[in-house]
């Protein structure tokens, strides 16, 4: 059982929890994730570790309430306990000096990008962030991420703040303007990462995407998280979650993410 120590509402349906996980906190690196199961009848879902505190022995997770499990998680409060949390899973992000790195993140991907931005900054990179959301109220963690980036661009689909449009519009513009970007890291919805990869491919900018397929055990045992990368089947849980975005078959990822859409609706109805 893992106790919830802090809870924050970051936006409509977007919440963060700080939970008591000393073993995981001690080992967490940027880009890694945990798998949690809320209760006896719950499913196992992966969530990126948005931050950690080794001294306090805590980790932070940020999530959007989109299905039964995330809604249930969002309804939990400080003092409540999550039945199972396991991690840190996945390979950490490759943190080294690249020169200028652009982080292109959407939705709750911003929270997941935060420790990566911080680590990249700490080794001397110039870090640019392009953060997008559907509208102003869904933008999260802007102040936190600001502290670790040299330049911040914000886009909203509806233009309620920042530039109206998509993160890819902003990315394309700065690349067109001739800004040198040595590496792009993209985290967010699969459709957004696919679009980012298409833009950077044209400009030959090495790009990594942090993939978010369905997982169960996340130890390499079941193979549900398999993705097709450069003509090879890879397991996201142990080989990823980050892969060369120019080699990822995003259409397949999107297809597999939708595998249980009908069942998810049933689960949701039973819950509410």
């Amino acid at each position: 059982m893992v106790k919830i120590l802090e809870k924050m509402v970051l936006g409509p349906g977007i919440k963060s929890l700080v939970i008591d996980s000393p073993l995981i906190a001690r080992k967490s690196r940027p880009g890694q994730f945990v798998v949690l199961r809320i209760s006896e009848r719950g499913e196992r879902i992966p969530l990126t570790i948005a931050d950690w505190n080794t001294e306090r022995g805590t980790i932070k997770i940020v999530f959007q309430e989109v299905g039964k499990t995330t809604k249930h998680l969002g309804s939990m409060n400080v003092g409540d306990e999550i039945m199972d949390v396991v991690g840190p899973m996945g390979q950490p992000s490759e943190i080294k000096f690249y020169g200028t790195v652009a982080i292109v993140a959407g939705g709750v991907g911003v929270a997941e990008a935060y420790p990566i931005a911080r680590a990249l900054k700490s080794v001397g990179n110039k870090v640019i962030a392009i953060i997008g959301a559907r509208s102003k109220d869904l933008l999260i963690m802007i102040d936190e991420i600001k502290r670790f980036v040299d330049e911040l661009f914000v886009t909203t689909d509806d233009g309620s703040t920042g530039r109206g449009g998509l993160v890819t519009d902003q990315l394309r513009d700065i690349l067109n303007e001739g800004m040198t970007i040595n590496r792009v890291i993209t985290i967010g919805p699969a459709i957004m990462m696919k679009a980012v990869a298409e833009v950077t491919r044209k400009f030959n900018v090495p790009t990594v995407a942090s993939l978010n397929p369905i997982m169960i055990d996340a130890t390499g045992m079941c193979g549900v998280c398999r993705v097709y990368v450069g003509g090879e089947t890879k397991f996201t849980c142990i080989d990823g979650p980050e892969f060369d975005a120019h080699k990822v078959d995003f259409d397949l990822l999107i297809l597999r993410l939708n595998m249980y859409k009908d069942k998810e609706q049933i689960a949701d109805r039973v819950c509410s």
């Binding site: 073993l23 995981i24 080992k27 199961r37 009848r41 719950g42 499913e43 196992r44 039964k68 499990t69 039945m83 199972d84 949390v85 396991v86 991690g87 840190p88 899973m89 169960i216 055990d217 130890t219 390499g220 045992m221 079941c222 193979g223 549900v224 398999r226 993705v227 097709y228 089947t233 142990i238 397949l252 297809l255 597999r256 939708n258 595998m259 249980y260 069942k263 998810e264 049933i266 689960a267 039973v270």
Partner: protein, 481 residues
Amino acid sequence: MNGATSSKTSPKSTIQRHQVRKRSPTERIRDFDEVSLGFELSQALAEAKRCLQCRDPPCVRKCPVEIDIPRFISQIKEGDFESAARTLREKNSIPAVTGRVCPQERLCEASCVLSNIGAPIAIGALERFAADTSKEYDLAIPEISLGRVAVIGSGPAGLTVASDLRRLGHEVTVYEALHELGGVLTYGIPPFRLPRDILTKEIKYIERLGVRFEKNVVIGRTLTIDELFDMGYDAVFIGSGAGSPKFLHIPGENLNAVYSANEFLTRCNLMRAYKFPEYDTPVHIGDRVGVIGGGNVAMDAARTALRLGSRHVTVIYRRTEKEMPARIEEIENAKSEGVNFMTLTSPIRIIGDERGYVRGLECVRMKLVEPDSSGRKRPVEIKDSNFTLNLDMVIVAIGQGPNPLIRQTTPELKTDEEGYIIVDERCRTSKRCVWAAGDAIPESETVIEAMGGGKRAAKDIHRYLTYDSARNSPWLDREFT
């Protein structure tokens, strides 16, 4: 019941083996409750009487965990079921499990002297009977005084090492990556072969011995083996299992509704997807399901699909039924439940529809030619024999490779070209004070073989932790190549 009350052993009662009761196929495919009902009291007593009580029993020699089989059978015959269970547990902490899933027909029962004049003793069924019937277990738990041992994985190998070492007076902690204990017994073997409450009862017994269990700890991620030593453990046993599903590497394998047997069974067994939406984890229920492979896992997957409500389930295997690695009993169970078998058939392409779901499976007919290095006849394609099966779900059950997590984080651990951990006869690995057995090492196939390896490891760990002479000798007799 013949022979149940009579004290004299007639030739007929010696020859005739008592059959365990099974639920009828039409009834049992509607739920996930156990298929076999085991022996009734009178059957068990009569079957126990058939045992010739050989002085030099071949059955014991064939048992990987060396159970004193004639003794426990004679205790059943005397009606002393508690003693029979105690005899079993002296060597085997999970007899209710092995009584159900052990391939007795090619181990103890295969060597039974009675086979020469009739049918062998139903040792497995008797083992199950004694284990299920006994109520309280005598627990003589020694004071903890010897070494501290970390066991990685709570499957058959890990449970065996843990209980053996605990009984010898060591402090033992088992680390399990998943949220439930039991390893393959939990995520792999369906409840209709091994009910969950039976497994829980067996693990509770090991807990009462004083073994500590830590769930949700992934060795190789949460902690490394070196960190376990830093925490003060004197010895580490790796029983992490196989745990990496093999795929066919044919086109269409990543389509929706193509499952590894591991995923399909994990969803159903560990996550209880058969109770969806009462439980949150869903599973796809195909109408026409193809299961590729001929082992026990393929049978488990096929029979699970039937129980979920799939109407047509076909096992597709490239050799003939004779070469299938599955237990004959499980093949028979699958057949009587309505699973179809298509042998000498090999899949070459999975066909998808416009939504990315399985629509069909292109196969080719095979024929068998002279045996290969494995001794089994080698299947070769028959030219231009391609045909397409109309399927909407495919389960790939062609085996597993070793899990890479421990290997990746323990560089001193030598592995073979496939990634299995290399060990010597004592189950020692190339890393000092680290032992391994079960599916993490090459050529361990069944639950009982994993347990046999665990027993060898436990014996050597005990010797190493107890005697200076063992600690002062070289770690390995020979270098691993």
